[in-house]
Symmetry: C2
Subunit: 497 residues, 2 copies
């Protein structure tokens, strides 16, 4: 038996166990590869990856230290007695190897893989191997199997509501924070919308990041129920909810490698929404040459896959394919996006019209899920709710109920990017703008981002400001500066005079 | 500037940097994904992955701690001043994503990927993604590009030798340690053979493990040159040599996931042999239904790929496709295999005949590289050298020159597996025997393994011992016992009486 110690190291989702090289429990001299162990203590067994320590001050030979992730999972006090055994490879590893070799996997194989991922029996490395092997190489029934497995055992039950709506955007369009506006409109109308949002994966800000500027988004299921009872709606991060745990682990790996395959997008979205108890889901697929989805044909394939899996799960799905050719709104990055969202809700004269129009269009589609609404009245109903101030009132109630956030500052390091010729903005490259924003720190700092002063179709004079970069620290600022000069992301059609 | 500290933690090839959550150098509150940093100190910059620490005793806010891998790479004393910057994604990550998306990569892209792998700019997770994405999806020119990149900058130059031979077996056949016998014969004949061997990847023992039972195998290039001057040959681990560094990092990831794709097998073998200065290479591809290579067609594809890349690199390659349907020799696991090897070299009456015959056949093929030898005389020449005791004498010289190893004990925990019916051994399942051996600890403990008493074609009586499992500790022993009863790996054809 070894004495448990908490080594307060945070390793980004992986369980690590630290064992002294002379540990009494196991002779490690010959270990030459990453070894998984099982740690047994109390009623629980957890899995962890071994790190070998040559310093008694870090861990003594009769101790076993766990990093913060593993220590929280085993849920025992320091000093508790634990035992360890070498862990056999997870049984589903055979299935992962079968997928690498190009085989079709069965539903029970996906179930076993997801279960082993959820129980932290896989390293991020093995999960990456699974994602790359399965992405683009899954049949539709396999995507269904993976989705069903990822829903997990715990789902939120809203049996007292006969309709629970939500909206999900596939992303790739900077700025595009319609979700928050939609939620306020739909809730003001009276539909139930527990909007579960994510933090940035590869963009400058996720909906949870932008909402996080305005209100607390980390609530548990009990609190979420209270919020829904009160306001019909809430906009919360799904990180704090005990739903679709595997999708969080998979998303963390996808974020680190910077990949997101269609099959995993579909299974992850639908598993989260199913686990959150959603019955009616609107999915927005923006298409643009520099957006995540590049062509209508690709959007159509994705739509079909979403519909196939949704239908098999009895989830009502409405899919809209929208214009993703340029950013939506002016602000990119959590603080700037929150500013735009509030301008729209306040009917401010300088509110970005594209963000407003897209939000109304999508909110209208969700309202049309309601059988009581006459067909075709969705948009106008949404417009009335926005214009009358009911949406703003609802948003303020949502913010106060969730708890107002300590509003972060906009990044103070700024640089204006100007037009090098007079003319008309011909195109804005979403991928480039996202890259510059992410390098400026937008994915990590709410106050970082890009503020667009010109959009496609606007006239510009040489030297006029196209956009402003905001960064929160000098490292990020230098990164953004180091790439922006090579290509600003703006294309200007010069006008013959 | 931060003060450098060595946190004596061994993390299996990955550079880790430990930073306090309140570190003065960087505000980490918002960091929510694995972050790569650059550590600058002295003349050097190294890359490391960040771990966040909440304990002053592990690392103080004004310190930066590095694990053993990173500390050795930066090569500065504790207390030195270092600075850090966030590391931008490695430039070649774009190429890895292009490969995940199914593109053909250029030679310069492979060169950049390998360079970033060698410089530890990638996590094991990202390397796993690259391996899964590229395995089975590379054109022959791409395999050539990857091989050229993996040779690296430093190669061992044997310009004073006009022919440097080596042998490599693709594996999958338990026991098959012909390499050591071949080297002794070839060196006794007078050819130069600096045999670079690897430790077990997925088998019960690599050639370096088996030779390690007899002699020290960890030598540097200078020592290797001395050994070659003295005896014409040496059998050493390539781990201690500064050759093809990327292939070691890649092999570590392959070992951890348990994958090995043809394209990477070819590039890794040929890069190592080119970097080691080999001019003439014999490659043994064993084929068997339960071997690594399952069919003649698959072996042929692999042969063609080896020959294509070899020809482009001006490496003389002779490929033989051999019978890999059952284990070669009786012992499986380093200690037991070393016993068999020495029995053959000593012409012991109970030496395994299959191991002896295969070694003579392969040694003969290598001898035929010598233009002075009359065609067809290879096998007979090898036989004469073995029978006359010259090979044994050479082996003893090699062992003494490399340094005799402290011979490890054979595992003391044993179990005899017996025949459940009388008859004739019809088949032995290589994969199953390997699995049982690896679970018994053979990949990690030299003394663990399996000793075969019956081979295909042997008559057995019910209850007679088929093989004996050896384990070095109770955990491993329990693992092996837990699977062996379900299927022993032996098939017995019962004889009608």
């Amino acid at each position: 038996m070894l004495t448990l110690k908490h080594l307060k190291i945070n390793s980004f989702n992986e369980n690590l166990a630290y064992m002294h090289r002379d540990c009494i429990a196991y002779k490690l001299d010959d270990i030459c590869s990453l070894v998984k162990i099982e740690v047994h203590g109390g009623m629980r067994t957890i899995y962890a990856f071994l790190q070998i320590v040559d310093d008694d001050k870090v861990v003594k030979p009769d101790e076993l230290a766990l990093n913060t992730e593993a220590f929280e999972q085993i849920n025992l006090p320091e000093g508790a007695k634990v035992s360890i055994t070498l862990s056999a490879p997870p049984p589903s590893l055979t299935s992962i190897k079968r997928k690498i070799a190009g085989n079709i996997l069965s539903a029970s194989e996906y179930s076993a893989i997801v279960s082993d991922i959820t129980n932290k029996r896989y390293s991020n490395m093995e999960i990456a191997a699974f994602l790359v092997a399965s992405g683009s190489f899954m049949s539709s029934p396999e995507v269904l199997s993976l989705t069903e497995a990822m829903i997990g055992e715990h789902t939120i039950d809203w049996t007292d509501k006969n309709m629970v709506v939500d909206h999900h955007c596939l992303g790739g369009v900077p700025g595009n924070k319609t979700d928050i506006i939609i939620t306020a409109i739909v809730a003001a109308y009276g539909l139930t919308m527990p909007k579960t949002a994510s933090h940035s994966l590869t963009s400058c800000a996720g909906v949870a990041d932008t909402m996080g500027v305005l209100a607390n988004v980390d609530v548990d299921e009990k609190k979420l129920r209270q919020l829904i009872e009160k306001n019909n709606a809430a906009i919360v991060s799904y990180d704090a909810l005990d739903v679709a745990a595997a999708s969080k682990i998979i998303a963390a790996v996808e974020r680190q490698i910077g990949i997101a395959q269609h099959e995993h997008i579909v299974s992850s979205i639908l598993a989260i929404k199913m686990a959150a108890g959603v019955t009616h889901l609107l999915i927005d697929i923006p298409v643009g040459p520099k957006s995540r989805i590049k062509s209508s044909a690709e959007a159509m394939r994705l739509r079909k896959l979403l519909e196939f899996v949704g239908d098999m799960l009895s989830l009502e799905i409405d899919t809209v394919i929208t214009d993703g050719s340029e950013p939506i709104g002016n602000g990119i990055g959590a603080v700037l996006e929150a500013r735009d969202v509030m301008k729209v809700l306040k009917n401010a004269p300088d509110a970005p019209q594209d963000l407003k129009e897209k939000s109304l269009f999508l909110a209208g589609r969700i309202l049309e899920f309601d059988p009581r609404l006459r067909g075709g009245q969705g948009y106008n109903t949404a417009l009335e709710i926005l214009n009358s101030g009911q949406a703003l009132e609802m948003m303020n109630r949502i913010i106060i109920s969730q708890g107002k956030a300590p509003q972060p500052q906009l990044g103070k390091l700024t640089r204006d990017i100007t037009a090098n010729a007079s003319g008309v903005v011909d195109a804005i490259d979403n991928a480039r703008i996202t890259k510059i924003g992410v390098l400026a720190g937008a994915a990590q700092h709410a106050g970082a981002g890009i503020d667009l002063f010109k959009k496609v179709g606007d006239s510009v004079h040489q030297g006029e400001v196209l956009y402003r970069i905001h960064a929160c620290n000098s490292t990020d600022f230098a990164f953004a500066n180091s790439v922006v000069d090579a290509y600003t992301g703006y294309e200007i059609a010069t006008v013959d005079e």
